[in-house]
Symmetry: C2
Subunit: 339 residues, 2 copies
């Protein structure tokens, strides 16, 4: 759960209780009559992390609720749906990562793991749509499916730009807008829509979620460069290995001195050719120093700050109060994720 | 297209025209504003084969239509949806196959291909749900999503039984009922439902599609053992390499003499360990001879025949006429696929 304090603590408690309900619905939806399916599904339960996307649905619902703040069953269901969608993308991302790690040599077990992950991701996405359709409102199903269309386009755009050392900022932003920010935006829109909010409020919350999602992804990309695995809780230094340029690298490649530019291209080529899951500390230090001296880390941080401010600005349409404060705090929390 | 003759030829012409409409809707739904997405999507256009699932929706629609036989736009849309669902499973199956082929050594290109296939499959399934939701009827979305849940369960059940040389017939039938027959059944149910058919008619058509789907899968499994790649049009001899026991093997393992049983286990182990995409002709001949002498090929063929008869029997609820004849011919055609 995201940490919130002060006047928002009552709402935060309410949110925690609602998230527990979401986890129940998550498990119930995925339950099969086949034990072999259930034993695979248990593997993904541990993937529940911050549950950012369900939190966005629920918190946006609270912020657009009549007083006292309350949520509907549809909020809980859609919060579960977006978590399932997100988890499907994580599971399918793992397939891709495993493929990379396997370059050194494939074992039968690894291949089995891959196949199970493809099918399990499909099972998750299918159940997400199934659960969504249970609400009996085709416009909600359409909104979710249109969003997953966009998320897939973002992933495909990223794939098409692998090892593209000439990637520019507009393409990077288009990529993360589709693959990450669109789902966050829809989460917030849904939270408002389920309370029958005015179109302008729905739209403002979409913008809030989208900007927050963009900032979240930039911070995530920074953590991949600067973070400690023990703190961040996932394998890092994947982006370069997969030939994925992120904001600091894009900035450095277009702003560094010719010598730095050559050095950075060498690093990129080396990192992308490297078959080990994490890079050597020497390579890491070299990259960090170069990005720092080119002002590229600061550039990415400034973008994240700017986007969080824009996210917060879009909330001015909401009445003052603890629910709005909660959304403001959540936006700020994106910038202070432990590295 | 499936071949039909005689009194059904007018309907067959109508069906061909409708299938062309389905292909148009297929392409239109997948069109993106991103050229990199479109260039990937063009790869799957060539996957259109017999289009069995759209044909089942359309032919069931014709068989439950008022006179003269006609279809609605919803028939065309749902025919497109089921083709998209089917193609997503094909694309994701390719990921798994490629993984096998790659055992000898992975190249970067192959890995890229795999990653693109995972994402492209996700893009297809997302658009299938999106297109379905455009009909504005949440019960249709629910029916499709419930079916894809079942298809995924079938795939996961199959995965859990890899290299299980003790697989029994009930489990095999449960597997193919879920992974193949459930979608065929729903195709026929949808064709009837969109014309407002009585529940008993809907159910009879579901049974028709399900039995036809089971027979289709058994014949498909037989083709994997006995077929020529040039005729069948896809890579064969995959099942054993992936440790997938099919009906003839299940029969042979429980009916062969002890010596044959030992020999067959040796073959299975060898085929599953073999890294080449197709087995040696000596291994193939050995397997075919053994299955034939144990009566296992005949056993599987008898099952396919029985299921086709059951499929045809379930059509007795329909009025006599060319549309019903078309469905009868389609069931028979399952048994005469070129090997």
């Amino acid at each position: 759960m995201l940490l919130v304090t002060g006047s928002t603590s009552t709402l935060s408690t309410l949110l925690s209780a609602e998230l527990a309900e979401v986890e129940c619905r998550f498990a119930a939806e995925l339950l099969s009559d086949l034990s072999s399916v259930n034993s695979l599904v248990t593997h993904v339960q541990r993937y529940h992390g911050k549950m950012l996307r369900p939190v966005l649905v629920l918190a946006s619902g609270l912020a657009t609720s009549a007083s006292p703040p309350a949520l509907t069953e549809a909020h809980r269901i859609l919060a579960t749906v977006v978590e399932m969608v997100h988890m499907a993308t994580l599971v399918h991302d793992d397939v891709l990562d495993e493929a990379e790690v396997r370059r050194g040599g494939a074992t039968l077990n690894q291949l089995r793991g891959n196949e199970a992950a493809v099918m399990l991701g499909d099972y998750l996405i299918s159940h997400a749509y199934h659960l969504c359709s249970s609400l009996g409102d085709a416009t909600l199903s359409q909104l979710i499916a249109r969003t997953t269309n966009t998320v897939c386009e973002g992933e495909l755009l990223q794939l098409a730009n692998r090892d593209n050392w000439a990637l520019d900022e507009p393409t990077y932003f288009e990529m993360i807008r589709r693959k990450t920010a669109s789902l966050c935006g829809v989460c917030c829109r849904l939270g408002a829509r389920l309370h029958g909010a005015a179109p302008a409020v729905e739209q403002a919350l979409y913008v809030y979620g989208e900007k927050l999602g963009l900032a979240f992804q930039i911070v995530d990309d920074l953590l991949d460069i600067l973070g400690q695995e023990s703190t961040v809780g996932k394998t890092l230094r994947r982006d370069l290995q997969k030939g994925k340029l992120t904001l600091p690298f894009i900035h450095a490649l277009s702003h560094a001195s010719p010598a730095q530019h050559r050095q950075l291209l060498d690093y990129l080529q080396f990192a992308s050719d490297d078959s080990s899951p994490t890079h050597s500390s020497r390579l890491r230090t070299g990259i960090e120093t170069l990005l720092d001296s080119a002002g590229s880390i600061a550039h990415a941080r400034a973008w994240a700050h700017r986007l969080v401010e824009q996210a917060k600005d879009s909330l001015s349409i909401l009445p003052l109060g603890p629910a709005r404060d909660l959304l403001l705090e959540m936006a700020d929390a994106v910038l202070t994720r432990p590295s």
